[in-house]
Symmetry: C2
DNA sequence: CGTTAGTTTGACCTGTATCAAAGCAGGTGG
DNA sequence: CCACCTGCTTTGATACAGGTCAAACTAACG
């Protein structure tokens, strides 16, 4: 209620967008999504998501959720980031070192009824789409590994921003070239495997290089093609026809 | 034929061990495994594994296989490591930047007939076991992320060795406390996101600290409990009753 | 307005990379 | 059997990316 993000897109719509972006899907295949309206839950930023008694799968429908590992000395690493339209699995047995938490204010709904309906019902297209989505999630995880293992802080940050941007585009929650990112730099640090201070400096560097703008939780990517080249990122959503006027580039230092 | 690793364990046996280690399985559930004997393929170290025309899933039955990402400037990161008993998915469309290759001499068999038989047949236990195995693979991936993101070189190396050891134990290819590791330090570097030189120094440090021994592709873990503590590793296979005589600890520097 | 959470800055330190060269096999062919 | 590769490991010297510590700044919020 603070900034933007009113009540948001209805869960079923979100999921429909997410799935049909990967696999062609007819709206009528999508009846089971009506199952989704139950058990909407809101989560404060930094609050842990716990499952009831059994394993649970929830659909994120607003905000960001992260699965993260804690070390005894306070180090934290976010293992995977979930954006609206993604599923989170909440294991019944929550170990102390491995938690799922809301990285910003977030909302989720129980996905079990929907998934159950899909599994038993006759909607092969949806089932196929889900399988593809699962593979896409796995691919995101691999990108995460690449970032942490072999990219420099600068590359890493660019890479992450590009990935987030595309994932949000996919569900209609970003415009080409800009995204809402209500995450603290501490969260970004835990995502990128960097220190807070270094994240801050890296973002400034990207800004000074005229590649991004970063203000009030909104990030603008001025030149996705160049960012992609820097980060070794393979753009899946093609660079915009010309959303960003070419003139903008003047503020960049051609180096 | 060089060192040990004669002809090795038959694929069906390997898979049986792998699966029944996670999920109780009766041998008679396991008839479909006879399907596995076809299409055994040997791979030279460093050779790429390519799929025929379609997507393909193969079972690793000897050696190590890695999925890796290449950057234009020569940096490489191994995204996931497969040991005997694991499945590798070979996508039909192989992009230049993303390859699967044999990290040591290795052997694989086509898993499709087996998986097909399971999917269609009546062997719910095996299907459940496969699902669990898949989740275990995902968990290994998360460990990989933690290592790369938040552990120091020293911790990272210990962590990886512990993980490999347990994964090999699981399929009966390691003794408690020691494992065969025919990987060059360059491969370890690409796995750990470190430089070759640093991997070398880190291994020496672990050796000097009396925690491991490293000779001729065989690694001995002298004190898994201590290694686990260093690496923030959660041992799944309990520390040995007393495989390593306590006396061994004398060579360590108590610091 | 004070308080609190987050961002920014500066100074300094250290883990890890890089470069270069020297050891050390194991395998080949003369 | 030796001389020679070639691929891998080891060592030393040096450079730099990124971490840590500490403090100032900013902006929300009650």
């Amino acid at each position: 209620m603070t900034t933007a993000t009113k009540t948001g897109v209805p869960p079923a719509e979100l999921l429909f967008r997410r799935l049909s972006a990967i696999h062609p899907l007819k709206p009528e295949d999508f009846a089971p999504a009506s199952q989704l309206e139950v058990d909407l839950r809101s989560h404060a930023a930094s609050s842990e998501l716990r499952s009831g008694e059994a394993d649970e799968i929830r659909l994120v429908c607003a905000g960001f959720v992260g699965e993260l590992r804690l070390l005894s000395d306070g180090r934290r690493q976010i293992l995977g980031l979930k954006v609206p339209g993604d599923f989170v699995r909440l294991p019944a047995t929550s170990s102390a070192g491995h938690v799922t938490l809301a990285l910003s204010r977030a909302q989720t709904v129980d996905a079990a009824p929907f998934l159950g309906a899909i599994a038993s019902g006759r909607a092969p297209a949806v089932r196929a789409a889900l399988a593809k989505a699962e593979r896409a999630d796995a691919a995101a995880m691999l990108d995460h590994v690449l970032r942490l293992g072999r990219l420099t802080a600068y590359e890493r940050t660019a890479h992450l921003l590009l990935e987030l941007h595309e994932r949000l585009l996919r569900v209609g929650l970003a415009m080409t070239g800009s995204l809402e990112l209500p995450l603290t730099q501490e969260i970004l640090a835990d995502l990128l495997g960097l220190s807070i201070v270094h994240v801050n400096r890296t973002l400034q560097q990207l800004r000074r290089d005229g590649l991004i703008q970063y203000r009030l939780g909104r990030i603008t990517l001025f030149d996705r093609a160049k960012l992609a080249q820097i980060a070794n990122y393979e753009l899946r959503v093609p660079p915009p026809a010309r959303t960003t006027p070419v003139v903008r580039r003047l503020s960049a230092q051609p180096k």
